[in-house]
């Protein structure tokens, strides 16, 4: 099961199969899965000619043909800029936008020989956790089409789960990779903030956004991160440090690892199936030689409201550039300001408008909230520094409190709150986290999450791969 991507790339490199043939095969599956009444709707755009053209370039170029992802079909979330396809953020205001440049992560994928199958569906501007809030319709969970795939990177998770791509890129702000990975039964990674370039990734909340890979197993996800990670002169928030070999210790197993179980991450209202899978996973880890410790992250309750204040604030500023002047859709009017207001009023969805206005309010009228958010973020971050300084290697929690909910379910506020609560703290602290499948309930996958100290992805991958193989 592990290291599928490396094996696929090796077959292309050795000439056993051409990238073009490999891609045609995957594309046929994609076309079938994305057609008819039972379609998953994982993609906003895909185009046969564009995809095959990429594969032909790989076959023709020895350096691409021997790349670590040679001929590997990859799906990319539609808030990541690509020059050969639309980039829409699932928003009306960007419906026909074609980026004149590739995101850094896309350049790195292409340079490794990967082929981009298409752009995946998402909640508009990444605001949501179900991929239902898209201008291009909802994505359905391939494991059960009546359920959501999670979000906002729901299309990227669904594409991997459905076999439309071997791996994908999603983006995270508060859990938008890990939560859909959990719902769709795939592996999803949030890297350390500053590990992966955000250049060409349409910003939601700049201090929280990170690109994260999704794949069918931990090793593939680690390899994907290996390809996209590292400092970028185009992103001043990437950190200039050498990227370690994420796979170097991936097979070292669980023995000797100290795994912290934060008591604040077992909230009431947790689905019994999730609680059961989580307990079983802990038992498996203990049996494989891991030391399990009960730990506390006392400011966990602050994380979600802190996140909301920060994310809305940054969003309101980041979306100011969508004004109909230089790019995207426009609704014309008699004056520039009228044009801008109509363009934004008609082009943004309800959730986007509500959050922009909230951020606008905070920036102009609620300075105490912003000051409190800075304080809250520091407190949440300090919690993690404390446990990792106390000898904890990784923290282990459920990724979500319940499996994927049904499409169209009007969630109670409490449930909505719960869908982010287990993933948001890592985002605030900028630490890496990974979700892997640890069970299932009525055919719906259940995910477990490891979190590690900043820059400690190798340890995180080792723990995740150790549990993954133990659960097989």
């Amino acid at each position: 099961m592990s290291a599928r991507l490396a094996r696929l790339a090796a077959r292309v490199a050795s000439g056993e199969i051409t990238a073009e043939k490999r891609i045609r095969g995957t594309f046929d599956r994609l076309m079938t899965g994305e057609s008819g009444p039972d379609r998953v709707n994982a993609f906003i755009s895909f185009d046969y000619d564009t995809t095959v053209a990429q594969a032909k370039r790989v076959d023709a170029d020895p350096s691409l043909r021997t790349g670590v992802l040679a001929g590997v079909p990859i799906a990319v979330k539609d808030n990541i800029c690509t020059i050969d396809s639309p980039t829409t953020c699932a928003a009306r205001i960007m419906a026909n936008y074609r980026s004149p440049y590739d995101a850094t992560v896309v350049r790195r994928l292409r340079a490794a020989g990967a082929v981009i199958m298409g752009k995946t569906n998402m909640d508009e501007f990444a605001l949501g956790s179900s991929t239902e809030h898209s201008a291009f319709g909802a994505t359905r969970n391939p494991r059960n089409l009546e359920h959501v795939p999670g979000g906002s990177s729901g299309g990227s998770a669904a594409a991997v789960a459905a076999g439309f791509a071997e791996a994908s890129l999603g983006t995270e702000t508060s859990g938008s990779v890990r939560q859909p990975a959990s719902f769709c039964g795939v592996v999803g990674v949030r890297p350390t903030y500053g590990r992966v370039s955000r250049y060409g990734v349409i910003a939601f909340a700049s201090t929280l956004d990170q690109v994260g890979p999704m794949a069918q197993n931990v090793e593939d996800a680690a390899l994907m991160l290996q390809v996209i990670a590292g400092p970028d002169a185009y992103d001043a928030t990437t950190v200039d440090m050498e990227v370690p070999d994420f796979c170097a210790h991936i097979g070292d197993g669980l023995s000797g690892l100290v795994v912290g179980i934060p008591r604040e991450y077992q909230p009431e209202g947790m689905d019994p199936a999730v609680a059961r899978s989580f307990a079983e996973a802990i038992g498996v880890m203990r049996a494989r030689g891991a030391t399990i410790r009960d730990v506390s992250l006392p400011h966990t309750d602050l994380a979600l409201p802190t996140y909301h204040a920060i994310a809305s604030t940054e969003l309101s500023s980041n979306l100011a550039r969508f004004d109909g002047v230089r790019f995207g859709a426009r609704v014309d009017a008699a004056t520039p300001s009228g044009m801008q207001a109509l363009t934004r009023g008609r082009g943004f969805g309800a959730e986007t408008k509500r959050r922009i206005l909230m951020g606008t309010y905070i920036l102009s009228h609620d300075p105490a909230l912003l000051a409190g958010a800075a304080r809250g973020r520091a407190l949440v971050t300090q919690d993690f520094l404390d446990v990792f300084a106390a000898g904890i290697d990784v923290l282990f929690t459920p990724t979500t409190h319940a499996p994927a909910f049904k499409l169209g379910a009007q969630l109670e506020p409490y449930e909505m709150y719960m869908s982010d609560v287990l993933t948001v703290s890592a985002a605030l602290a900028g630490i890496p986290a990974i979700s892997i499948p640890i069970g299932a309930s009525h055919g719906l996958p259940i995910g477990g999450q490891f979190m590690a100290a900043k820059w400690a992805e190798p340890l995180m991958f080792r723990a995740a791969a150790g549990l993954e193989s133990a659960l097989l």
Partner: protein, 109 residues
């Protein structure tokens, strides 16, 4: 409490045209959400009298400020693939164009 006048003011500042029913709905929603964030606001108030003039909105670098990398002053911007017409809603003679500004003879309506 966010009232309708405040929502209209915010929408004006954020350049978003809202329908009447949107104003009503958003006023209620923002009021609810901002209430829920009271615990965070209390933290800020406990930290001292935060005002728009003094607040540090840098929520990121409180714990460990990294150093900003600097770019050498050597020409070499990221290239644009294709022309502006590829992505712009309105281009004429190489210019992006918008309705005439009211201060320069445009319709102030």
């Amino acid at each position: 409490m966010i009232d309708r006048a405040m929502v209209r003011h915010l929408a004006d500042a954020a350049r978003i045209d809202l329908a009447v029913e949107e104003v009503d709905r958003i006023a209620d929603q923002l009021t609810d959400i901002l209430d829920e964030l009271g615990v965070v606001r209390a933290l800020g108030e406990a930290d001292g009298a935060a005002t728009v003039d003094t607040v540090r909105s840098d929520t990121m670098h409180e714990v460990e400020p990294p150093m900003q990398p600097l770019r050498a002053d050597v020409p070499g911007a990221d290239a644009l693939i294709g022309t502006a017409a590829r992505f712009a809603p309105e281009v004429r003679d190489g210019f992006f164009t918008v309705p005439l500004l009211p201060s320069h003879g445009g319709d102030p309506a």
